[in-house]
Structures are given as structure tokens and as C-alpha cells.
């Protein structure tokens, strides 16, 4: 309706109230009535047009309201989804300052092995002070880490869960009233207590690392690094541990942070690349080993087999079994380096292989333009190539598991102090690194290493081991040292345990590292 202005209103009201005009009014009204009717009919036509437009506009506006209501609901759903599902993993980041802040309200939870051994716990003394104890001692120190001088290891990785309390809300309420702290949740790792203890004791007095995992699930069963430190005396020993004079690197987790030339263990990848480049006739590979390989283009480049041993005519399988350097130096000089590099990077060279613990990425810097000498050296796992013990473990784990690596995980689940399940860590991602026929071939090679080759220490009727030894040479302080490697798994059918053993400054892989692996298999598979 068109708005009347105030004057019209006044005059209209004034006229209607005067009684003397009633009769005249009646006559006026009749003519007015007829005129009004005509006007109304005309107005009605244009009004319906206007009304139609208005109705259309109103419908469009309603449509716009629905549209935005939809967007709002989508936003609310996204918000809820974030809090319910995504928040937990993301909240555990060290960038979230709230965790430590909230941690003051809970008693830090326990860390346990998969079989229930407590390897970290907070003890509250009578006077109320809390202290963190590590019943596992130095054997478990590296994977567990510590939480006093900064946070490392699982203490850091699982910080969010250890400072959260998943107990019954009613109990929480009671605690709040009585001003008691809530107990933090228990973090269960995938570590196997006996295996871990054994692994650490095997390294006693030496420097090195032993890592074990279950190829079918990616669960890390043991992670030992030596020399280690006593986490119960961390505060007291801190200064001497980090002092410049201490060159032992006690605080370094060699399993994930140590980088070593892979040595002969790299020959497995060389063989794989050779198979890929000769898919139909790799079985026909034949090499006459004379105890050394001389580069035809530059006789100064020579690679010797270990101790100058002459292996005679070898195929791919026996070259691996005997760890023939000459054969692989030859392969190294002839192989397509670009493809080799991309293969190496599939196996985490130059890539992050982090499981949430401090780690260093392996290194593979060979290019197609590298000099032949470097290619020959890289073929036997020397040169500039470096890898970590965990990385090497992943390589054999993939071979053990039909070519698929299950990404390693060290956390298994979270339970509240009362025992109720709080969180289950999913299995690691499945990453296909080679076909199952390729892995079958490599498995066969690795079996020969034990039955006919350098890892005879692992020959036993109890189970069938597949493996590869390595003796990587490093120059340290002017002296040539040998790092002894053994990587392998058992049993051959349906592997249950994959191991990666590295001993610094040892003898050959077969003499130093393989016997340690034997003890690990004996314990786990019996």
C-alpha cells in the first residue's frame, strides 16, 4: 500500500466526523463508490502484475535463504567432523602449547611394551613431587626417550596421549572436587620386551644398532642403539653426555639417526634394478669373477672382491650369495643410473622415513654424469651412498612381504588407567615397492646367502632364514674401519621377524653381525 502522508490522513478523518454532511455524504459516496470501483479495477490489474513480480522476488529470496542455510549446515557438519575425528591426531603436535599446559592437571601416563612391561612411569612421592622412572633402563632408552630435558622419543611422540585422561567422567569429576590430579592414559608400544632386552645386550660394549620389525604389520618389535644412557640418571649425567669431549653419541638413536654406507646390503637393490632392466633374460646373467674388476676405460679403477677371493663364473643368485664385488662393480658401471636413482628413492634414499622419532634421511647422490669409479663403488654400496638401519630394515621387510612395505609404526594403542580402550593406532600405509615375482627372486637370492654364502652362521634346521651380509668400509681418522651389516628375515615362508643389525668397527657382516641376528631369531621363533 502506498503510504499516505499525514495531511491526507487529517483531512480524511476530519470529513468523516462532521454529522451535518451525512446526507450529502451519502450521495457523494455513491458516485465516489462507482469511481472507486473503476479505479480499483485498474489498480487491480497493475497490482497483480506488481504482486506477481513481488511474489517471484520473494521466492528467489527464499531460495537464497535455503542456499545459505545449506552452507551453514555444511559448515557445522565440517566443524563437528573436525572435533570428532581429526582433532586427536592433529592435537598431538609439539606446536600445540596447550598440551603441556593441560598436562599439569594430569599425572603423566605409563608407557608399556606390547606384552605389558612398564618402561616409563611417573611416581608420586609422599610430599607430592613427581618423578619419572624408566624400569627398562638403558636398553629401552632410545625408543622411549625422555621428558625432562625437552622431549624426545615416544615421550614426545605420544605426549598428547600421556597427558590425556580417558577415565570415567564421573571419576574425573570426583577427582576435581577432591583436588586430585587425573591419571594419564597408558601408551602401549609395539615393542617386545624380551627381544628389546636381547637386542641391547647383543650390542654390549660396541657401537651400533639393532632394529626388528614384523613385515606383515609394520610393527617395530625392537629398536636398540648403543652406546646408550641411563634415563633414570639423565639429569645427573646430562652435562657429561652432551659435552664436546664425549664422542660416543650416547643420545643419538642410531637406528633412525645413524647414517652408514649400506655396503653389500645395497647389492639387493642393484640386483632388483638389473632384473627390471633385463626382464626377460636376467636369469642368463653370467660374470667371470677373477677376484677383481678393472674398468675397461680406465685401468686405474679397480674393485676387489673381499680378500681378493676369486668366485669364478657367477649368476645373479650366486653373486649375491657370495657377495661378489667384481660382479656388482661391473653392474654398477653399466646400469641406467637415472632408473637406479628413482629406485633408490622409492626405498627412502633422499626421502623422509620418519616414524615420529628424530631421524635422518638416507642419501643417494649418484647421477648419470658421475664418474665410472663412483658408479663402480656405488654398485657395491660404497661411494657416497648412506642409509640408516631402519631404512635397510624396510628394504628387507618389503622383500619379505611379497614386495609391499607396511610403513613402520611403534605405537600400538592407548588405554585409560582403568584399562578401557581409548585409541587404536592404525596399521601403517601399504606401499608397493616391487612386484611379488621380483620379491620372490630376491628372496631366493637371500636364501642362498644363508645356505651357500656369507651368512652361514644362520644355517639351522629350526627355521629358514633369508638375509644379506654387508661389510661397509669407512675411513675414520685416517684409519679404515669396517661396519658390519646383516639384514634378513625368517621364516622364509610367512616371515615373522625382519632384522637389521649394524655393528660399527667390526669384522665382516658374516662374522660380526650375522651371529647376533641368529640369537634374535632363536629367541623370537622358538
Amino acid at each position: 500500500m502506498r503510504r499516505e502522508d499525514s495531511e491526507e490522513k487529517k483531512s480524511r478523518k476530519g470529513k468523516e466526523k462532521n454529522p451535518e454532511n451525512k446526507i450529502n455524504k451519502q450521495r457523494e459516496k455513491q458516485t465516489e463508490g462507482r469511481q472507486q470501483a473503476k479505479r480499483r479495477r485498474e489498480e487491480a490489474i497493475s497490482e497483480t502484475k506488481l504482486a506477481m513480480i513481488r511474489r517471484k522476488q520473494n521466492r528467489e529470496m527464499l531460495g537464497i535463504v535455503y542456499l545459505f542455510a545449506l552452507i551453514f549446515f555444511a559448515m557445522i557438519v565440517y566443524f563437528c567432523h573436525f572435533i570428532l575425528f581429526q582433532a586427536e591426531d592433529k592435537m598431538a603436535s609439539p606446536y600445540n602449547a596447550r598440551i603441556d599446559y593441560l598436562a599439569q592437571k594430569t599425572v603423566r601416563g605409563e608407557i608399556q611394551t606390547a606384552d605389558g612391561m612398564v618402561i616409563a612411569k611417573t611416581v608420586t612421592k609422599e610430599d607430592g613431587t613427581e618423578s619419572r622412572e624408566y624400569p627398562g633402563g638403558a636398553a629401552f632408552a632410545h625408543p622411549v626417550g625422555y621428558s625432562v630435558k625437552g622431549k624426545t622419543g615416544i615421550e614426545s611422540l605420544g605426549n598428547y596421549y600421556l597427558t590425556n585422561s580417558g577415565i570415567n567422567p564421573l571419576q574425573k569429576f570426583m577427582n576435581e572436587i577432591e583436588n586430585r590430579k587425573n591419571p594419564g592414559d597408558t601408551l602401549v608400544t609395539s615393542l617386545d620386551a624380551d627381544l628389546q632386552k636381547l637386542a641391547y645386550s647383543l650390542l654390549d660394549g660396541r657401537k651400533g644398532s639393532i632394529v626388528c620389525m614384523e613385515p606383515s604389520s609394520g610393527r617395530i618389535l625392537a629398536m636398540a642403539s648403543a652406546p646408550s644412557f641411563d634415563p633414570n640418571q639423565l639429569q645427573e649425567n646430562w652435562d657429561s653426555l652432551i659435552s664436546e669431549e664425549n664422542t660416543d653419541g650416547n643420545l643419538v638413536n642410531r637406528a633412525t639417526q645413524g647414517l652408514y654406507p649400506p655396503g653389500s646390503t645395497f647389492k639387493l637393490l642393484m640386483a632388483l634394478e638389473y632384473i627390471r632392466e633385463h626382464p626377460t633374460d636376467w636369469q642368463d646373467f653370467s660374470f667371470k669373477c677373477k677376484g677383481e674388476y678393472v674398468d675397461p676405460s680406465n685401468p686405474a679403477n679397480v674393485v676387489h672382491c673381499y680378500n681378493g677371493e676369486v668366485h669364478g663364473t657367477v649368476n645373479l643368485e650366486s653373486a649375491i650369495a657370495q657377495s661378489c664385488n667384481s660382479a656388482f662393480a661391473f653392474i654398477g658401471s653399466e646400469i641406467d643410473v637415472n632408473r637406479l636413482q628413482s629406485l633408490a628413492e622409492d626405498f627412502y634414499y633422499n626421502k623422509d622415513l620418519s616414524i615420529g622419532l628424530p631421524s635422518k634421511a638416507g642419501q643417494f647422490s649418484l647421477t648419470a654424469d658421475s664418474p665410472t669409479w663412483l658408479k663402480m663403488q656405488s654398485g657395491i654400496g660404497q661411494g657416497e651412498t648412506l642409509c640408516s638401519p631402519l631404512q635397510n630394515l624396510c628394504m628387507v621387510s618389503a622383500i619379505a612381504n611379497h614386495g609391499t612395505l607396511i610403513y613402520p609404526t611403534i605405537l600400538s594403542e592407548v588405554k585409560s588407567k582403568e584399562g578401557t580402550a581409548v585409541h587404536h593406532f592404525p596399521k601403517g600405509e601399504e606401499i608397493t615397492l616391487m612386484s611379488s615375482s621380483e620379491s620372490d627372486a630376491l628372496k631366493q637370492f637371500m636364501r642362498s646367502v644363508v645356505t651357500e654364502g656369507t651368512a652361514s652362521a644362520l644355517k639351522t634346521k629350526a627355521y629358514q632364514v633369508c638375509g644379506k651380509t654387508g661389510s661397509a668400509q669407512v675411513k675414520e681418522g685416517g684409519k679404515l674401519k669396517t661396519n658390519a651389516w646383516f639384514v634378513g628375515f625368517a621364516p622364509m615362508d610367512n616371515p615373522k621377524l625382519a632384522v637389521s643389525v649394524l655393528v660399527e668397527d667390526g669384522d665382516t657382516g658374516g662374522k660380526t653381525a650375522a651371529p647376533l641376528a641368529r640369537e634374535l631369531f632363536d629367541l623370537y621363533l622358538k
Binding site: 528467489e60 529470496m61 537464497i64 535463504v65 545459505f68 552452507i71 551453514f72 557445522i76 573436525f82 576435581e176
Partner: protein
């Protein structure tokens, strides 16, 4: 015991907010005048209770008397302000004013918790704005025919934006404000209003193609200057509201689709041209990869929200100050962290209900001009809410727009007050007209009765 009270207060606050939201939506369809009175009475009591409890918690958590001193004037304001409106404009929309007061209350609670100095400043500006906007319904009623000024509005908008472009100071990569007489003045907040009036005027007065072309020119000019200022958030707001106004004014779905296409293109182009747009998009796609750098702000916001969960940590129990610019764009995250995700969701629903009320008022306006004004202002409001809340929860890339009434910022606050006051004006005038119609109907019914009596006589 302090913590116990805090937990208790937290649960009560959540229940109050749920009740408030439920009340709003349940009564959305109730016929205006009747139901609204009862409803607003209830909402009002909920608001006062929530306000009181929150300040009680703030005081008990810190022992700082400031919170008592700050609470009292706020209480006075909430008690008196609706009465002033009632006295001046009996037909005002109580529910809309309640929502506005709720936003203000939550804003003051959070700002008082975050930074006392800013809270005081915000309160002072709100007082000034509250008084200022009381004249708006009167002005709207008196002038009524704003279409005449449509090009003047356009001119004001363009000149203001040019001033910002030439004299403005750069903040966070964009030129958005001008310093005048010691105050920082964010022109785009006010240009939003002049823009809507201008476009609505053009589209309603000038029919057919002529209107479309003129309005497109005005919109383009505004847009280009904003882009030159690198204030892409405002440019987006103005553009989207223009597209919707065009769609409704000319009843052509084509405009809507074309608008969508153009904004998508503009998005891609701006991504290529502007580095800070790229930063925001990276931060949106995977902020977790660069938590120390590009993703810092949004991950801190998500940490706050995620750690707070649905029930919140409680006032003064979280660390909202870890989020950069928390008092402005990310005040929603602070709300969610300490008062809880449920309260945050209720806030979203209350904003939605405000938008629906605004659109309903637009529907009830018969004048095409005012319909478009209502539409334009509603769309700007709702998109601003979506961009600011969505940006805080990583639903959309963050764009640096503010949450009306709650974010710290004088210009944003004043312009929000003006927008809500404009809607009050529309509601009041409609109410007065309805009353006149009812009176006229009653009078002509009387007259007919008298006439028939006379005829009988």
C-alpha cells in the same frame, strides 16, 4: 573449588546457549508481533544470566576487581538499551535487538578475557554507536526516498575507497584503513552500506538493461579499487552481494550463474597475481605441513578448537592468546576453545537466524528498493559470517574479515550497529504501516456498520 565453579558455569552456559538457539528457531515461524514479545522476554533473561555467570567466572578465576567494575556498566546497558528503543520506537524488533545484545555480550566477555584494554575501548565505541544509531529509524522514516541519492552513494563509496588507496596504511598485505584524527578508520566497512544503497537504488529505479549496465559500472569501479588496495575480502563481499541483488532484481537465474563463474575466474586470477592469496590458499589446503610458517595462524586456531572440544576448556583455562590476531578474525576460535564447540555451534545458528530474520523483513517490504537493500545487507552479513567463521575452522581460506559485533574493531562494530539499526527501521516502518492498515480496516468496518444502520433507519 574455583575449578569446580568454573566447570559448573561452563555446563550452565552451554545449556543456556542451547536454550537460546532452540527458542529462536522454534519461534521463527510464529507470527510477528504476538509471539515475539513472549519469546524476547525469555531470550532476554537467558542473555542476562549467561552474561552474569561468565563474568562471575572471569572474576573468580583471576580475583581481578576489574571484572566487577566492567560488568556493572554492561549490565546497565543491557537493562536500559531495550527500554530506550521501546520508548522511541514501540514497533521495534525485540528479537533482533536481543541477538545483537547477545553478540555484544559474548564479545565483551571474550575481549575482557583476552585483553582488558581492548575490551574497554570496544565497549566505549559500542556505547557511542548505540546512541548514534537511535536516530536511524527516524531518518529513514523522514527521508524514505533514498533512491534519489543512488549516485551520491556510489560517489561516496568510490571516493572513500580512493582515499584509502592513496592515503591508506598497509596491514597484513592490504590497504584497508586510513588514519584520521588519530583514529584508525576502516573505510570498506562503511562503503559496504553506501554500495548496497547505491546498487539497490539503481536496480529499482532504472528498469531493464539500463539498470544492469549502470549498476555493473558502479560495482566494477568499487571492485577494482578494492583489488588495487589488495582488500580482496571486501571485494568478494561486495561482488557477491551485487550478484544476488541483480538476480532478484531482474529475476534472471543467468546472472547468478554468470556471477558464480566470474568469481571463480577472479579467484584463479588473484591466486596467480597475489602472493598473499597464494599463502592463504597453501595454508588452507595443508597447513600442517608448514606449522611454523604459512600455516601458523590457522593451525593455532585449529589447536585451540580441537583441544577445547565440544565442552570447552573453560574461561581462563585455555591459551587463546597463542593464536595471532585472536581478538579480530579468530575470536571465534577463542570462543570455541574456552566456552566449547557446542556454544560455537549455537553462535553459528544464531547468526543464521539473524540472516533469516533479515531476509524475512526483506520479503515483507513491498517497495522494490527496500527489498533490495534488505537483500544486499543480509547477503553481506551472512557471507561475512561464513568467511570469518569458516576461515577460523579451515572451511574456507581465511580472508581477514571480522565477526560482526564480536571482533575487536571500531569501524566493524559501528557498521554492524548501523546495519542492524537499518533493519530495525524497516521493521518499525512496516509495523507502523500494518497498524495504520488495521486502523483503516477497523474504521471502514465501523463506517459500513454506521451506513447500514442509517439505511435501515
Amino acid at each position: 573449588m574455583g575449578n569446580l565453579f568454573s566447570s559448573f558455569a561452563k555446563i550452565i552456559s552451554i545449556l543456556l546457549m542451547l536454550l537460546y538457539s532452540y527458542g529462536l528457531f522454534r519461534n521463527l515461524s510464529i507470527d510477528y508481533r504476538e509471539g515475539k514479545k513472549k519469546l524476547s522476554g525469555l531470550l532476554y533473561k537467558i542473555l542476562l544470566l549467561l552474561h552474569f555467570i561468565s563474568y562471575a567466572v572471569l572474576y573468580f578465576q583471576t580475583g581481578n576487581l576489574f571484572y566487577i567494575y566492567f560488568y556493572l556498566p554492561q549490565l546497565l546497558y543491557f537493562l536500559l538499551y531495550p527500554l530506550i528503543w521501546k520508548k522511541l520506537y514501540p514497533f521495534y524488533n525485540e528479537v533482533l535487538l536481543n541477538n545483537q545484545c547477545l553478540f555484544l555480550a559474548l564479545g565483551w566477555i571474550l575481549l575482557a578475557r583476552l585483553q582488558e584494554a581492548k575490551a574497554i575501548k570496544q565497549f566505549a565505541v559500542a556505547m557511542a554507536a548505540s546512541l548514534l544509531v537511535l536516530v536511524i529509524p527516524y531518518i529513514v522514516d523522514k527521508i524514505w526516498d533514498f533512491q534519489k541519492f543512488r549516485y551520491i552513494f556510489a560517489g561516496i563509496g568510490i571516493v572513500s575507497l580512493l582515499l584509502v588507496l592513496v592515503l591508506g596504511t598497509v596491514n597484513f598485505g592490504a590497504k584497508m584503513s586510513v588514519s584520521l584524527f588519530g583514529f584508525r578508520f576502516q573505510a570498506s566497512e562503511f562503503v559496504k552500506l553506501s554500495f548496497v544503497f547505491s546498487i539497490a537504488g539503481i536496480l529499482s529505479e532504472e528498469h531493464g538493461k539500463e539498470g544492469v549496465i549502470h549498476s555493473a559500472c558502479v560495482a566494477a569501479l568499487h571492485g577494482i579499487i578494492l583489488v588495487l588496495c589488495k582488500d580482496l575480502g571486501s571485494a568478494l563481499l561486495l561482488f557477491i552481494s551485487y550478484v544476488f541483488m541483480l538476480y532478484v532484481a531482474r529475476n534472471q537465474l543467468l546472472y547468478l550463474l554468470a556471477g558464480g563463474l566470474v568469481s571463480a575466474l577472479a579467484g584463479i586470477v588473484s591466486y596467480g597475481l597475489f602472493s598473499h592469496v597464494r599463502t592463504r590458499v597453501y595454508a588452507f589446503i595443508d597447513p600442517w605441513r608448514d606449522m611454523a610458517g604459512k600455516g601458523y595462524q590457522i593451525t593455532q586456531s585449529l589447536f585451540a578448537i580441537g583441544t577445547g572440544g565440544f565442552l570447552g576448556l573453560g574461561l581462563f583455562q585455555g591459551l587463546p592468546n597463542k593464536i595471532p590476531i585472536v581478538e579480530n578474525d579468530f575470536i571465534f576460535s577463542a570462543l570455541s576453545e574456552e566456552m566449547g564447540g557446542v556454544v560455537a555451534i549455537c553462535l553459528i545458528l544464531i547468526c543464521l537466524s539473524c540472516f533469516m530474520q533479515m531476509m524475512m523483513m526483506g520479503r515483507d517490504m513491498e517497495s522494490s528498493f527496500y527489498k533490495l537493500v534488505a537483500l544486499g545487507l543480509s547477503v553481506i552479513y551472512v557471507i561475512q559470517v561464513i568467511l570469518t567463521i569458516g576461515g577460523a575452522i579451515k572451511f574456507v581460506p581465511s580472508t581477514g574479515v571480522t565477526l560482526p559485533f564480536m571482533s575487536y574493531g571500531g569501524s566493524s562494530l559501528i557498521s554492524s550497529f548501523i546495519v542492524f539499526a537499518l533493519f530495525q527501521s524497516l521493521f518499525i516502518i512496516q509495523g507502523q504501516e500494518d497498524e495504520v492498515e488495521m486502523e483503516e480496516d477497523a474504521e471502514s468496518a465501523e463506517e459500513q456498520e454506521m451506513e447500514s444502520e442509517e439505511e435501515d433507519a
